[in-house]
């Protein structure tokens, strides 16, 4: 399993289920610090027809993280070949506020809350 981690967060790519789980609180200092995560997300789109991003355990995401996730959604939209799903949690306040914006960027995005 490919993964990334730092203080307070973990990112795991599960190739068998075509899913990436983001866990914890992500508040890195700007887009440059998010580059490894961007790269992991972008690479996961290669040779896949579907990919699920699981945010149900992501308690906090700062605006640089929102920018990173949004840019990834735009990239998936522009690359056409991969169906993207994002799973959020109703229990995590920021997700109810901000995830709907991703739908505006990619209308075909499958966004679900549990």
């Amino acid at each position: 399993m490919q993964s990334l981690s730092g203080e307070g967060y973990k990112v795991e790519l599960d190739a068998e289920t075509d899913s990436i789980r983001l866990i914890g609180a992500l508040r890195l200092g700007g887009l440059a610090e998010y580059a490894p995560l961007s790269q992991l997300l972008e690479n996961a789109l290669d040779d896949r027809t579907k990919l699920t991003i699981d945010l149900t355990e992501l308690e906090f995401l700062n605006s640089s993280g929102i920018a990173t996730l949004s840019k990834f959604v735009i990239s998936a939209r522009n690359r056409h070949h991969c169906a993207l799903a994002i799973r959020g949690s109703e229990a995590i306040a920021w997700q109810g506020k901000s995830l709907k914006n991703l739908k505006r960027l990619m209308p075909a995005l499958e966004l679900t809350f549990e």
Partner: protein, 190 residues
């Protein structure tokens, strides 16, 4: 033109007002170490305000409300502290300050940092653009541009406005050594 946008409130410390103040000199420890304090401080402020929104076990809506207010305060405080730290000019003689003020119907954040002339001019230009644009459109525009370049300027402020219904204001005051004291105010209705 001074570039101010909106009105910065004068906080009155009456019986209906609770407040917390933070102040620090970011240069005193390396930025990387200092950065984690943004999260700690922001989460503390988020937890602090929950005292004023108690849970009622017979009313599930109170849990949701508490969680939303904690999340909103934590997000906004974190963004303000991150921005302050990125733009503060440590050669100028004032610290970064952050005040959280809880009133009956509003939570007011006032964050102050110092910046040099060029940084202040660039920031004023962004603030003016924000004041004259549709924030929803500007959000999408910044991201679509960001998909091509590396820019994400102001996304935190746009998120506060669009997703949290916050009202933002700025004040720019000249200080010594060609610097400016920049006050950012965020008002969140509760």
């Amino acid at each position: 033109m001074n570039g101010n946008q909106g009105e910065i409130r004068e906080i009155r410390f009456d019986r209906n007002t609770e407040s917390l103040d933070l102040s620090f000199w970011p240069g005193s420890v390396p930025l990387k170490q200092r950065w984690r304090n943004n999260g700690l401080s922001a989460d503390f402020l988020g937890d602090y305000v929950t005292t004023f929104f108690p849970l009622d076990e017979n009313d599930p809506a109170t849990r949701k409300r508490q969680s939303e207010i904690r999340g909103a305060v934590s997000f906004i405080a974190n963004e303000l502290l991150e921005n302050a730290m990125k733009f503060h000019d440590d050669s100028l003689p004032e610290p970064i300050t952050m005040r959280l003020c809880l009133q009956q119907k509003e939570i007011i954040f006032q964050q102050v940092n110092c910046a040099g002339r060029d940084a202040t001019e660039a920031f004023r230009a962004f603030v003016e653009r924000l004041g004259s644009s549709d924030p929803g459109e500007l959000f999408v525009q910044q991201l679509e541009q960001g998909a091509a370049s590396e820019g994400s300027a102001g996304l935190g402020y746009l998120t506060m406005i669009n997703d949290y219904g916050a009202e933002l204001a700025w004040r720019f005051e000249p200080i010594a050594d060609n610097g400016f004291r920049v006050t950012t105010q965020v008002i969140l209705e509760i």
